[in-house]
């Protein structure tokens, strides 16, 4: 694919400092990183190493204390609130560890509402959502509510929701942490397929060795610092 | 209505009574002089009883009417007035006995006593109030006289008195100014002022002629100061003094009887 090596995410010398009581904790320090289109990359490291913090900053849910984050060349610090919202809506897909589906909406509606937010016409929405749900293996479960399906199925809905808008990157924070290993494998299969067939760029965090084994690129974090960056 | 014409005489006469407790400004000398003159008037005027026939002419903004009345009096606090004309009111009688005033109404054949609330009401549609009928006997108790002028005025020798109510007197007038001829002691004019010192009405005397053995004014006219076009005039047709009258004439029972 022509856009294969285009940089989607660039982190320039990122530091994120939290203040915990009296002491300052550098959740991330002096991190430089580039994620390019088509990558299937994992951030790994022990708990507390800064994975979530990095993902949040890339997803424009958090701001670095210093340094610059760019998404498709746009410096996030230069964007206003509505541009940030539009960026999250149009260019980023989010998959959370605890799914975070809207509990009162059906699987279909959960996958559909960002499209509605984008202003996509209902007929088009329907077509796209049905296709995606079919792709993530939820055919026939469209009208189920989150509490009527399994954790794995819920995470599939979340993935469908993340990719239905064709974002530049899908950020997934420990997407398999809450499911059993069989389900985890299936989810990984799905994401891998989406990456390979549709060219969806994935960046996920994990400390699950099976996930790490599947990744094309493995970035190790320790105490908020880049420990290693390995292409497999 | 004897009350009205004789009021001057009786009033002046009775003013011989007040003594000591004088709280008004006039000098003792002027008070003494006033009392002296008033005593003279009293001697000249006062009869123990009277009998009169007079007509009363009332002119107001809204009506004009003439009545004829007959009146009797005895002492200072007994008097009786009966209407002779017009026919509609014939027989209507007012009796003053002490400080009470009674009216007999022939049409309803009822006698009523006028309450204090009615005292300032018009008497028989005239410019006199019911209070005027009973007032005279109180004057002497409530007012202190003082001579305020003695000498020539309009080519006449006159005496002017001021009658000022005692501080604690519950009276209608704030001041009365009275003018008499110095020689004959006949009344010329009385001016009544309210408590704020504003002139309220004026009583003028005229048509002096001999009645009941002495010269007296036969006409007396009252004019309210705020309505100078209105007046009530009393014209004496007959006056007798010191006539023999029974006390029973001045009883409620006799109100009904025709004379």
């Amino acid at each position: 694919m022509s856009q294969q090596h285009r940089a989607i995410v660039e982190l320039h010398n990122i530091t994120r400092t939290y203040i915990q009581g009296e002491i300052e904790v550098n959740a991330v320090s002096n991190l430089n990183l580039t994620i390019s289109a088509g990558e299937f990359t994992t951030l790994c490291g022990p708990s507390g190493s800064g994975k979530t913090t990095v993902l949040n900053m890339i997803g424009a849910l958090d701001e670095p204390t210093s340094g610059v984050v760019t998404i498709e060349g746009r410096n996030l610090t230069e964007l206003n609130r509505s541009e940030i919202s539009a960026l999250r809506r149009d260019r980023i897909g989010f998959v959370f560890q605890s799914y975070n589906l809207i509990p009162v909406l059906t699987a279909y509606e959960n996958a559909e509402f960002v499209l509605a937010l984008q202003g996509v016409k209902p007929a088009e929405r329907r077509e796209q959502v049905m296709a995606i749900l079919k792709e993530v293996g939820l055919e026939g479960l469209e009208h189920r509510r989150p509490d009527e399906i399994s954790g794995g199925q819920q995470q599939r809905v979340a993935i469908a929701r993340a990719i239905v808008t064709h974002p530049a990157i899908v950020l997934a924070d420990e997407p398999t942490a809450n499911v059993d290993s069989a389900t985890a494998e299936a989810l990984l299969d799905l994401m891998q397929e989406l990456n390979q067939n549709d060219g969806v760029t994935f960046l996920f965090s994990t400390h699950d060795q099976r996930v790490i084994d599947r990744a094309k690129r493995v970035i190790h974090l320790r105490d908020g610092k880049l420990e290693s960056d390995i292409l497999q | 209505m004897r009350a009205l014409i004789v009021s001057v005489a009786l009033l002046l006469a009775s003013i011989t009574l007040p003594t000591g407790a004088v709280t008004v400004q006039p000098s003792d000398a002027s008070i003494t002089r006033a009392k002296e003159i008033l005593k003279g008037i009293d001697d000249l005027w006062r009869g123990d009883s009277s009998h009169a026939i007079f007509s009363m002419h009332v002119r107001t903004e809204h009506y004009q009417r003439t009545m004829q009345m007959e009146a009797w009096s005895k002492g200072k606090d007994k008097s009786l007035v009966k209407i002779l004309k017009p026919l509609k009111e014939k027989g209507t009688a007012s009796l003053k006995s002490g400080k009470h005033l009674y009216s007999y109404l022939p049409r309803t054949d009822r006698t009523i006593r006028l309450t204090s609330g009615m005292m300032m009401g018009s008497w028989m549609g005239s410019h006199f109030t019911n209070d005027d009928l009973v007032d005279e006997s109180r004057m002497e108790e409530d007012y202190t006289p003082a001579v305020t002028f003695e000498g020539q005025r309009n080519g006449q020798n006159i005496i002017e008195f001021a009658l000022i109510p005692h501080e604690d007197a519950a009276v209608v007038w704030g001041k009365i100014i009275m003018t008499i001829f110095a020689n004959s002691l006949l009344p010329i004019e009385e001016i009544f002022y309210d408590e704020d010192g504003v002139e309220t009405r004026r009583m003028t005397f005229s048509d002096y002629k001999v009645m009941a053995g002495a010269e007296r004014p036969a006409v007396m006219r009252v004019t309210p100061t705020d309505k100078p076009d209105e007046y009530t005039e009393i014209i004496y047709e007959k006056l007798e003094l010191n006539v023999d009258l029974k006390d029973s004439l001045f009883s409620i029972n006799s109100l009904k009887h025709r004379h």
């Binding site: 809506r89 975070n100 | 107001t60 509609k88 109404l105 309803t108």
Partner: protein, 406 residues
Amino acid sequence: MLMHFAFRNLWRHRQRTFVTIAAMGLAGSIMIFYSALMEGMLFASERNAISMNSGEMQLHVENYRRDPDLYKRIDGSYSIINKLQQAGFNASPRLYGFALAAAGTASSGVKMSAIDIDYESKVTKIHNHVMRGSWLSKDLPNDVVIGRRLARTLGVDVGDEVVIVGQAADGSMADALFNIRGILKSVGEEIDRAGFYMNVSTFRELMVIPEGSHEIVIMPKDGYSNTLNERLEQVRKLVPQLELLSWKKLLPAIAEILDMTDASIVVMILITYIAVGMVILNAMLMGVFERIREFGVMKALGFSPWQIFSLILLESQIQVALASMITIGVGIPLSLYFSVHGIDLSQFTSGFTFGGVALDPHWRSMLTPQSVIMPVGLLFAIATLAVIYPAIKAAVIQPIEAIHHQ
């Protein structure tokens, strides 16, 4: 799009939505009913006050009120009354005169009120306030109805005789003997002490006043729609030559009491509204804060703060709109029902007074536009105000914070 979301959210949270709407709707209905009851009470007090004697307005010649005088009369009062009747009013002529009344040895000043019975009965309800005996009759010219304190002063009762002495308009003596036909209940200081009602024809003969009247009392016919000020203006245009006074000028003390009552009712209504406002505020706060995580996720997925804010506001407005329907649908029929049937308080009290005015023990509500508009308007205002804080909070909250919010 937001509208669709709002409706869907409300529908999916239907249990909470229904409870909220029902609570608001019920509160609103109660507010309408309460307002209508208060309006009804005020209206009844006002009607009672003015229908006792003063009427809603009165006509006199210039200065009559300041200096009442037998000769200050309105000419052609019946043609004026005809004009007023055609314009939707009932009107009645009256004449007054002061005189002395005596019975036995007792006497007292009285204010004779001469009325035209047929006209008067359409204007005031004084004929309903006879304590003993009965009201005037056209066939009994020598019968009078007097105030209760006057009756006591004169020591008379129904069936007794009383003499009147006064001065007629021509200066002659006006005296006549009357039979006491009725004694009034307490209807006001002056009437109690000096009220002396008689037929107008009797009065005219007694006082030698063949024509004219001192006063024209006016009351709107039932079912009027315009305000007092508009009615005053209407009458002023019909009879510009006469002095027109409204009952507020005629009964300033009662007008003041009723104004004060009105103010205290507003305070009471406001207190009710504040209580209702708390309920709504709570419902709105809970509705938003329970869903804060949901809003965080929506923000993370691309909702702008403004969209979140609008969505929450929209949801609350839809709820209030539905609640208003309940408010109107329940409040209005309830108020209308009680405006016809009234609440019967007669078992608790034989008659009660309010602001010094005797009231019918049937307390009727009265539905005015104000008693609907105010509760509904306030419902919207309160719900909107109540939701603004949580809506802003949800709009500006950081998504990660919201997501971690449990």
